[in-house]
């Protein structure tokens, strides 16, 4: 996570661009960009697991959707609930779920970890899909937006799309900074060491299981925060939000965007989203274009879109660490046998 100045420069320009965007945008793109930024937070949270801890979760959408359902449950039909109340409740609920799922899941490694996270996500998916009281397969409305203020004094009006846009932008920046600081702190160094070589990290005396669990809970909670924002801005949540397609989509954002960079996954969410937006209008064969694009990036942009940005703006150190990472990956084959990395 040692960004070269030019990349930081690129990120600052991007944020500045997003900050002035509402002045040039129509209503649609305002809300669409809000959605893309939410997906960016979601993807960034998964990057913490895939790109830094080496845990490939295929059930990340469970936390995204769960937060939305929790918000729907705590929001009565005809009354707004304070953000100070609903946000902690939702995030607390998601964190608890992530703790339980993570506690079971971090015992496995590699492909088995992928599958066990999928299994838990599928169980949650079916729970909501078949729960008629929560709208069953059709999903459920969140009737009123959370109230941000004290008493009668409203600070932020979440019913206003522009306000929601800036609220989400601020959240995106905050999440990025939070993760950046965390990854520079000792905790972040340890989880990156786990990704590079869990054996050695354990040999150094770290309880790697516990570190992985904490990373899992943080990532899950942040995915829940993204889900909360999505539910607030669209007012609807459905079992589809927890579906493995959604887990796969966010994983695609992370890998295409460039894992282990934090900003790469955000770029992934934006570029795929905008590509879809443009291509969808030209042809009904969007999936064909998407498929070709995915294969193109995989074959020709080895470090994802962030690698391209790095090449254009950065060079040197950022890429060097990436180089090392790829080399290290031989010891950490996701699809291969979980070898001795497990405990016991």
């Amino acid at each position: 996570m040692s960004l070269k100045a030019p990349v930081t420069f690129f990120l600052l320009i991007a944020v500045a661009g997003l900050a002035v965007f509402p002045h040039f945008s129509d209503e649609f793109y305002l809300e669409f960009f809000t959605h893309l930024m939410v997906m960016g937070i979601f993807a960034m949270s998964l990057d913490l697991l895939i790109g830094y801890t080496g845990l490939v979760s295929f059930g990340h959408a469970a936390f995204f959707g769960l937060a939305g359902y929790l918000l729907a449950i705590v929001t009565p039909q005809d009354e707004a609930v304070a953000l100070w109340l609903s946000l902690p409740v939702c995030l607390g609920g998601v964190a608890l779920a992530a703790l339980v799922i993570g506690w079971f899941s971090v015992r496995t490694a590699g492909i088995y970890f992928i599958m066990i996270t999928l299994a838990f996500a599928q169980m949650l998916f079916y729970y909501f899909n078949e729960n008629e009281a929560l709208g069953g397969s059709d999903g459920i409305f969140i009737f009123s937006k959370p109230f941000v203020g004290f008493g009668d004094w409203q600070i932020i009006d979440l019913a206003n799309p522009t306000t929601v846009y800036y609220f989400v932008l601020a959240s995106l920046v905050a999440c990025y900074l939070l993760l950046t600081v965390m990854l520079r702190a000792p905790f972040g160094q340890v989880i990156q060491a786990i990704r590079a070589n869990e054996h050695r990290t354990r040999a150094l005396g770290y309880d790697t299981q516990r570190y992985k669990l904490v990373a899992f809970v943080i990532a899950g909670t942040m995915a829940g925060f993204a889900g909360y924002l999505e539910a607030v801005s669209t007012g609807i949540v459905s079992p589809g939000h927890l579906h493995w397609h959604n887990s796969g989509l966010v994983m695609m954002h992370v890998i295409l965007g460039g894992m282990g960079t934090l900003y790469g996954p955000i770029l992934g969410a934006f570029i795929l989203g905008l590509l879809h937006d443009q291509v969808q209008e030209v042809t009904e064969h969007w999936h064909l274009v998407q498929g070709v694009f995915v294969i193109f990036v995989v074959l020709f942009l080895p470090r994802g879109i962030a690698g391209l940005v790095g090449r254009l703006f950065g060079r040197a150190r950022d890429l060097d660490t990436e180089e090392n990472r790829v080399a290290v990956d031989d010891e950490h084959k996701v699809g291969a046998e979980p070898n001795g990395e497990r405990t016991k």
Binding site: Q122, M123, H285, V294, L299, E337
Partner: protein, 288 residues
């Protein structure tokens, strides 16, 4: 549940297990030997079904359609390995996952372009069209029993191929240590290409012989994808025996789950997988 019903449901469970093994066998081959998480497995399965439907337009014989269709799918698998996957062996496995995901998108779209969005059926061959009487109300189609027979043949065939043949030896050598095998004069690139095309053909074969039962429709490949992974992972990656046991376990758990715990029918399979992985994190027959 009386004894007759119990026995019939057991038969259903075992038979479903056979179907699952048929679908999952190619996956565990590619998975275990090449370490590739092949998400396009379901797409190959779908392609097999559509190719048989297409060929049945020229010949009414399912056997001929399968015999013509299999080389096509072997070629498709071979080309995909040579022109895409082979470039990714040195990269993080997630890129292979993503590549095969891209393949799903492309194949689904090509299916739509070539065959449209209608639902088609493939007739059961008339020789196997009969049925066996189970109770006064229920009979059992012979074709389903025939598929079980095919599955056993495939299981045995794969066991022999991997464990007893020269190709199997090269495959195992390549799987356990690529560089070493290369040094010993095995053309690993060729071996992997063969394994991948075999896996693709096996998936397609499942779609082909399953087509008379499952019918042929868009999105059919996506439905079997996840359950195939569940089977392979429960059994332990790369283990043919594991895939077989995993398939039976899931077949039975699913069948009895639906009958005995109808409210939890949809989660039983995943709960079983979670429990198995908690007990043995590398699957039932996976190497620790």
């Amino acid at each position: 549940m009386d004894l007759t019903t119990f026995l019939i449901q057991t038969l259903n469970g075992v038979q479903y297990g056979f179907l699952l093994f048929l679908v999952a066998s190619g996956l565990t081959l590619i998975f275990g030997i090449m370490g590739i998480i092949n998400l396009a497995h379901g797409a190959f399965y779908m392609l097999g079904a559509y190719i048989v439907y297409w060929l049945m337009g020229y010949t009414d014989n399912l056997l001929i359609a399968v015999l013509v269709g299999l080389p096509i799918m072997l070629a498709v698998g071979y080309l995909i390995e040579r022109f895409a996957i082979s470039y990714l062996y040195d990269r993080d496995h997630l890129y292979q996952v993503l590549l095969t995901y891209g393949l799903i998108l492309i194949f689904n779209e090509l299916q739509k372009i070539f065959w449209g969005t209608d639902f088609y059926s493939v007739p059961v061959p008339s020789v196997l069209g009969g049925s066996v009487t189970l109770t006064e109300t229920q009979v059992y189609p012979v074709y389903r029993l025939f598929i079980s027979l095919i599955c056993m043949t495939i299981a045995a065939g794969m066991y022999v191929l991997i464990g007893r043949t020269r190709l199997g030896m090269m495959i195992r050598a390549g799987a356990s240590n690529r560089e070493m095998a290369q040094v010993l004069g095995i053309n690993i690139g060729r071996v992997f290409a063969i394994v991948f095309s075999l896996g693709a053909a096996l998936a397609a074969f499942a779609g082909m012989v399953g087509a008379p039962i499952s019918s042929v429709y868009p999105g059919m490949g996506d439905q079997i994808l996840i359950i195939s992974f569940v089977v392979v992972v429960i059994g332990g990656i790369g283990s043919i025996k594991g895939a077989f046991v995993g398939a039976m376990l899931i077949g039975l758990a699913d069948t009895f789950g639906q009958v005995l715990l109808p409210d939890f029918a949809s989660v039983v399979v995943y709960a079983v997988m979670a429990l198995v992985l908690l007990w043995r994190p590398q699957g039932l027959f996976g190497k620790a």
